[in-house]
Amino acid sequence: MDKKELKVSALKNGTVIDHIPAKDLFQVIKILNLEKVDNPITFGTNLDSKKYGKKAIVKVSDRYFEDSEINKIALIAPEANLNIIKNYEVVEKKSVELPDQIKGICKCMNPKCITNAEPMLTKFDVVSKVPPALKCYYCGKVTDQEHFVII
């Protein structure tokens, strides 16, 4: 590996999110609101993966996420994992887990639900973690993985 390539991929301090299904990279970026982050960020996608065939990876410098923040991506990338980097060393490895409740992020699939008519946040109880299924706090209808629409 030449020196130039190493510079791009190595992270001194920050978070590496690995094992994101390649097709879901941009949704992960959206959920974590990375568009609005000023820190240096590196994305890689369509990388070879034993698990998915093609995976994506995100490296965020000088940034550590709260569990409540990062766990939101479990909705679309349940097998993603995190490497917490301090001084070039992996100091912690974590996997993501869906929280019991989710606010925002996903639309309710019920076209007659109030959340699809009003400018308001959606709110769900997670009724199943694997595969993920969300019960709307307002209308009571369950949105399954197949019908997830990320806001």
Partner: protein
Amino acid sequence: MNHKSLISITDFSTEEILRVLEIAEDLEKNPDQHLLDGKVVATLFFEPSTRTRLSFESAINRMGGRVIGFSDPNNSSVSKGETLKDTIRIVSNYCDLIVMRHPLEGSSRYASEVATVPVINAGDGAHQHPTQTLLDMYSIKKTQGRLDNINIFMVGDLKYGRTVHSLVQAMSPFNPTFNFISHPKLRMPQEYLEFLDSKGVRYYEHETFTDILSAADIVYMTRVQRERFQDLMEYEKTKDLYILKNSMLENTKPTMKILHPLPRINEISQDVDPNPKAYYFEQACNGVYARQAVISYVLGLRK
């Protein structure tokens, strides 16, 4: 927010349901209680429902309260594109309680979050209509003298009928037996059958009326709507299977009562009306007492 709203029947514990039914009984016996003197109640009907609105307004008027509101959103700021939130926030300033009906599911739960006064759900789309459940339970208690160990037959559209779903949930702590009679396409949804299994409640499913109607304490009829069938031929073939006729009542218990959330189309034959077992018109009257009780309970006027 520290006030109590009634959005879904599951917002009330079994003890609270029993308390509300007791208050209803008291209000029926002692009608001259001016609990709402000086109070203003807003009835916001974002879709028309004359029967429900009149029942609520009668309940409010009987307790001395004043009513403001609208019965048709076309005559309100809603037609100008105002959000539900803004409407509810504004109306909260004008009243002590909001009674609302809305075509969208979950709308009244959302309204209860933004309102500064209690909200009573008078129907949110196909979702919930809790005062209907309370008046059904009041009718059962009044006619049978108890809520425990009742054998309830539910007939017609058990798939989409929100009244049967809520009643099944609310009656489950009282050791009921359910008999569900419906076309296979309009069966009680799996989630409610699983709910009953989890509570250890006995239930039986039938595709047609059977002789065991003789075991019924309550026959709860519902309307089968033509639009539920994609194949109109099938609708025509099946609709007559779920009509209750007077001749079918011969061997039923003398104390048995027939309930229906109304409006009825043809699922209860007209020849049933004079039979003392027909209770659906009195049931509608019970709706006023049940709503009086709910209103006075959520406002903390009766505890």
